[in-house]
Amino acid sequence: MKSAYLYYPGCTLETTAVEYHRATRALFGRLEVDLVEIDDWTCCGASAAEASSPLLALCLAARNLALAEAQASSSDILVPCSACYLNLRRVAVNTAQLQRVNTVLAKEQLQLAAPPAVRHLLDILSRDVGAARIADQIGRPLDGLKVAAYYGCQCLRPYPVFDDPERPTSMASLIQATGAEVFPWEMGARCCGAAHLTTKRSVGLKLVAEILVAARGADLVTTVCPMCQLNLEAYQGAVSRAVGQDLAIPVLYLPQLLGLAMGLDGEAVGLPLNLALSEALMMRLNGAVAG
């Protein structure tokens, strides 16, 4: 396993997903893997740039890859946000535009020649770290908890790199390593509605509702993307009222779940910042520290 990665947190990990940032850093710290933040990184373009100009989308993402290349071209880049991951990865695939992109980057004395590999956090956890390494370090076994693994879209599609893009399973062995059970469902690779919750609220709420209804029976949902996380945790009240069922369920980022199972305390993985937690889960976590 590699002992260091470049790290591109992305904008949301500084604000609405700051607990994802904290948990990722704490988990990799515990695994004795260094995460070296890319100096001076900027926004990847999110979904807005592509909906405005394809060239702008490529250039915003490419700027970060060029910075990474200048900093440490032989390290892989770990990206926790699925939208950032897709945008950064697209630059590497889109070689037809490379010359134009480099014309733009040259204004800042940057250049893209052989950028480091762009890798999603889940890719690195499932293939580089691996479940065995997690299982070896369990300090708070989560036996009996049923965890619904939610992957969302953009870590799987359009680039199926580390998992099946329709029926993903890469989280399963990691969840099992904590002692928890994988909740059987078909919604793991469904769309959470993304930015519809801001611009087309009623449509977004319907997508969230379908996922939360299917999660009934699980003890918690895990995610690997800030947008999926926010959509699944922030609208539980609105969706429960619309559907006429109580759909409240804790939603944790995967590094939070793994970190907690490895004995990190709630504060260290940013747990107080989550929007959807339950008393039952908190009691279960507090009572599960192995002596």
């Binding site: 904008c11 949301t12 500084e14 604000t15 609405t16 997903a17 700051v18 001076d40 990184w41 900027t42 926004c43 373009g45 999110a46 979904s47 807005a48 740039a49 592509e50 909906a51 405005s52 100009s53 394809p54 060239l55 702008l56 250039c59 915003l60 700027r63 134009r100 014309t103 733009v104 204004k107 800042e108 879209c153 953009q154 599609r157 359009p158 199926p160 893009p165 329709e166 469904r190 769309c191 509605g193 993304a194 930015a195 519809h196 801001t198 611009t199 087309k200 609220r201 009623s202 449509v203 319907k206 997508l207 922030a234 107080p272 910042l273 929007l275």
Partner: protein
């Protein structure tokens, strides 16, 4: 119809023509529609949209909600038996609609525009400044009211901070300007 189509332009040149070429191989199988999580809310299905593009019916396309409702889940792109870049084309239509200032897509276009203005100014997204600006430009009370509760919850957690006027870092100004110049050049070359 004349006035509506006047702002929309013809499919025979430029970006629209390239998009039409990109769906030339569509066999109208409807796998895209069957895969789309948002199809239930669309006035035209994705399959119908691609047919309209092939026929050059740009007025119908730009006044439908279909492309605006694409949430970029990439299922259609993954499953298309012809391997067509359908999600990318949906984004392309969003960009073309925004460029033409088509009224029925104003709220989405304004969001993208506010987002990019925010990134251009600060380098990284400043969410409070972004949402404040977006809702102000939108000029309707419904959306900010619907989001106020969440905004408060996020502020209580310290994840969102009240937005004071901030100095622009101007870090990305050059990049945005250079992209705009390259695109103007390319558009000019296509027209002449």
């Amino acid at each position: 119809m004349m006035t509506r189509s006047a702002t929309i332009g013809s499919v025979s040149t430029g970006h629209l023509s390239r998009m039409r070429t990109a769906v030339q191989a569509c066999i109208q199988c409807g796998t895209c529609t069957g895969s789309c999580p948002n199809a239930f809310a669309m006035d035209r299905t994705p399959r119908q949209l691609w047919r309209l593009l092939l026929l050059g019916e740009m007025v119908e396309i730009f006044h439908s909600q279909t492309f605006i409702l694409c949430s970029a889940c990439y299922l259609c792109t993954l499953r298309c038996p012809r391997g067509l870049p359908l999600t990318e084309l949906m984004a392309g239509l969003k960009a073309e609609a925004a460029k033409r200032g088509i009224g029925c897509h104003r709220s989405s276009s304004l969001f993208y525009d506010s987002f990019l203005a925010n990134v251009r100014r600060h380098g990284r997204v400043r969410e409070m400044a972004l949402m404040t600006r977006y809702f102000t430009r939108l000029g309707r009370l419904g959306p900010p009211l619907a989001n106020m509760g969440l905004g408060r919850r996020l502020m209580r957690k310290g994840k969102l901070k009240p937005s004071w006027p901030q100095k622009s870092s101007a870090k990305l100004d050059q990049l945005f300007a250079c992209v705009a110049a390259l695109e103007a050049e390319a558009d000019g070359a296509r027209e002449s």
